[in-house]
Assembly symmetry: C2
Homo-oligomer: 444 residues x 2
């Protein structure tokens, strides 16, 4: 298919290209365009029918969107923007430099321009900034037949007609009804008698992650957005929510790895930006780790007399760090999914203490057998290492399990209390316990 199209383009048979390409899904057309060189891309894009061109436009990368807008005529820009859903226009304009935004705004009618400006002013992560205003609104006095006719006449431009929202004369949200229910009802029934009155809605200024969790909880396909007076101003559709959810997950994973979150794709981010996003946390953690080093320096007489103790430092540090990271990752994820709540702090603590004891006992037993019997390390040193391991694993589980909850309690993002930071904290604890135990057991 792709090879065929490429051959047709090579031969300049653009009429055939057009015939083939309009049969394809818009996402696939966009992907195909991404792989063409820029000259051919422009030719192919220009032969697409208006409605398909705007759909394809919303799926291509920001770089190419910019290139296309820079290259095509004002009239072509107007055609694309007219056909584009408002939320896609906003999403695209938010990523463009100001000269492109100006060029686009110049080519839209005054009403759209006003709307775009209003939307561009919603806070970046708010529901308002990703809602669309292309939705179907009904009045509750309508009959099913009237409602369906209203949809038939106004629905062409709407992003979704699955759910229709019922408003009063002041645009106050009063109910919701699915297209399914309308179709399956008798013509003469009144909308108000079959609509759902218990509508779940969000405010334009609500956070997108709150919105995403409502979508997940209620299995919605779309959700109404209201202003402070409870007037319906837009809807959010689930395809956009999916992006919000994946973005939130990406940010959590980045934070958990001590990287400053970023929306840019890895391969498209330049090296300086990547380095900048990583250096802050590395510096903080490096400085913190030197305090752990100071613990060793305080005990250098111990180390000097029993130098073999040094060789267990990596194992103790790694194991306690890993034990703590496991707990913190599970708790951070539980908090993100709403499965763990602030009020569960004590439950988590109690669970982690018990898990820590079990895991710690198993690990320190295996460790003792290995170093005493296999590596023939002295009994007291083997005992020192194993006791330290047991205590630090339990403490690591406690620290890893509770710090994310504490972070949330003081309104910090729990995701920063993950592996890297937990490891640094737990390392210091592990070494203190190690040398104290050594001093006691080895009588140094």
């Amino acid at each position: 298919m792709k090879e065929e199209l490429l051959a047709l383009i090579e031969q300049g048979k653009y009429a055939n290209v057009r015939k083939e390409i309009v049969e394809m899904n818009e996402v696939d057309i966009a992907q195909f365009l991404e792989e063409l060189d820029k000259q051919k891309l422009l030719v192919v894009f220009r032969i697409l029918p208006k409605d398909i061109a705007s759909g394809v436009f919303s799926y291509i990368s920001n770089d190419l969107q910019k290139y296309i807008i820079e290259s095509i005529s004002d009239r072509e820009i107007k055609n694309i923007i007219d056909e584009l859903f408002l939320d896609d226009t906003i999403a695209f304009l938010e990523e463009m430099p100001s000269n492109i935004v100006k060029k686009v705004l110049k080519n839209t009618d005054e009403e759209t321009r006003k709307l775009i400006n209003q939307f561009l002013n919603y806070p970046e992560n708010s529901a308002g900034s990703i809602m669309t205003i292309e939705f179907v609104d009904l009045k509750k006095e309508m009959t099913v037949k009237e409602a369906l006719e209203h949809i038939k006449y106004t629905g062409v431009d709407k992003e979704t007609i699955n759910n229709c929202y019922v408003i009063d004369n002041n645009r106050i949200l009063e109910g919701v009804i699915s297209i399914r229910k309308l179709i399956l009802s008798e013509d003469s029934v009144l909308v108000k008698d079959i609509m759902e009155k218990d509508v779940v809605y969000i405010n334009t200024h609500d956070d997108q992650e709150k919105m995403a969790s409502l979508f997940k909880k209620y299995d919605f396909l779309s959700m109404p957005v209201v202003d402070n007076e409870c007037r319906l101003v837009g809807i959010v559709t689930i395809d956009d929510v999916l992006d919000v959810i994946e973005q939130a997950n990406t940010e959590d994973i980045q934070k958990m790895a001590a990287v400053k979150p970023s929306e840019e794709k890895y391969l498209k981010t330049n090296v300086l930006v990547l380095a900048r996003h990583r250096i802050t946390w590395l510096l903080i953690l490096m400085i913190s780790a030197t305090f752990t080093g100071n613990i060793i320096r305080k005990f250098d007489d111990v180390l000097q007399s029993v130098v073999v103790l040094a060789s267990f430092i990596p194992m103790l540090m790694d194991t306690s760090g890993n034990a703590g990271s496991q707990s913190s990752a599970l708790v951070i994820r539980g908090l993100a999914l709403g499965e763990i709540d602030l009020k569960d702090a004590l439950k988590v603590l109690w669970k982690e203490i018990r898990v820590g004891c079990l895991v710690g006992l198993a690990l320190s037993t295996v460790n003792f057998m290995r170093i005493y019997y296999l590596e023939k390390v002295g009994f007291m040193v083997s005992l020192t290492v194993s006791i330290t391991l047991l205590i630090t694993v339990i403490l690591a589980k406690i620290v890893g399990g509770t710090l994310p909850i504490l972070a949330k309690k003081i309104k910090l993002d729990p995701a920063i209390m993950a592996g890297p930071l937990i490891t640094t904290i737990v390392d210091a604890v592990a070494l203190s316990i190690y040398f104290t135990t050594a001093t006691m057991l080895l009588g140094i």
Copy 2:
């Protein structure tokens, strides 16, 4: 609202409870039931209208589902299962012990029983196991009017009517048409003239994560599932896909923290299971870390003569571990989202080398200033530490950036090449370089 309901239940005014509760969203009813004690829960559940009861049933926890099925009559079970969509029935039965499954199967008619058995046989993470068979199928010779009438008569029991699938007489999938397009088209138009012929579909045995990525790519609300002969056998709806996506993210985060993935919620998992899920990786990593310890033992003469070297081990281990974890987390996430491909291995390598140089230079400069000027450590030791830091950070970035891709290449899950494993590998590298540099620079 909730307090009101509780008061009504306390007073035994169940008629009023019923009147209030049917106005609520099924998800909220389910959540309300979860908070009641078991006796009252059963009473309230039994007064729910049949259709609401089954909806609510699909949203409550497995424990309560089990309790309800154990407590209610065969006739009530039949009512619930009859109203439940098949995919919800399957999802529920998959979590139940065999005595409950038998009790349910006994109360379904033969046809449903056969279907349930067939569905329970699809592999656990396949598209088949979460698809539903309640979908609308049309014939391409139908007119729009006939199609809409067909939907009106058969649509009541369907899970979604947003997309209708067009099949031939052998049930081979031929096209798809949205309810929106049907409503907005003239009555006399033929379905085949307005349907999309380029249908994206999946096979019953396809992996759910593949399916999820198609949903994300194309912004679908539902997707057809076919058997090996391309016959339409079911559809998957986006609400179920959302769960698959969140589950996949949870599993990735668990694996990245060296925890065996599990679908159970943290607070509902018992301590023994939690411990078992963590111990394997901890053991493997503990044993691996002892090899790092052996490196120190090999150089104990170096350590003996310059014992201050030991105090920089935690900082070197932590920093290189963190630097490697950052890179691996970004690459693992990029692979999961499809932003990074196997063929990008060299691009990633080159990016990480450059980022590593930048970050490494910055860190080792800061480190040198700090320990030489502030902590007054000797010049050669300061130099040894800083040079080691520079080299290990670069190597850590290379290891962290490329191992996930290599893992994918040999069909392992990239997510295991995350923080814990990378740290263990990088630690060994860091210590080898450290002591080699020390031997050379300090002339020991």
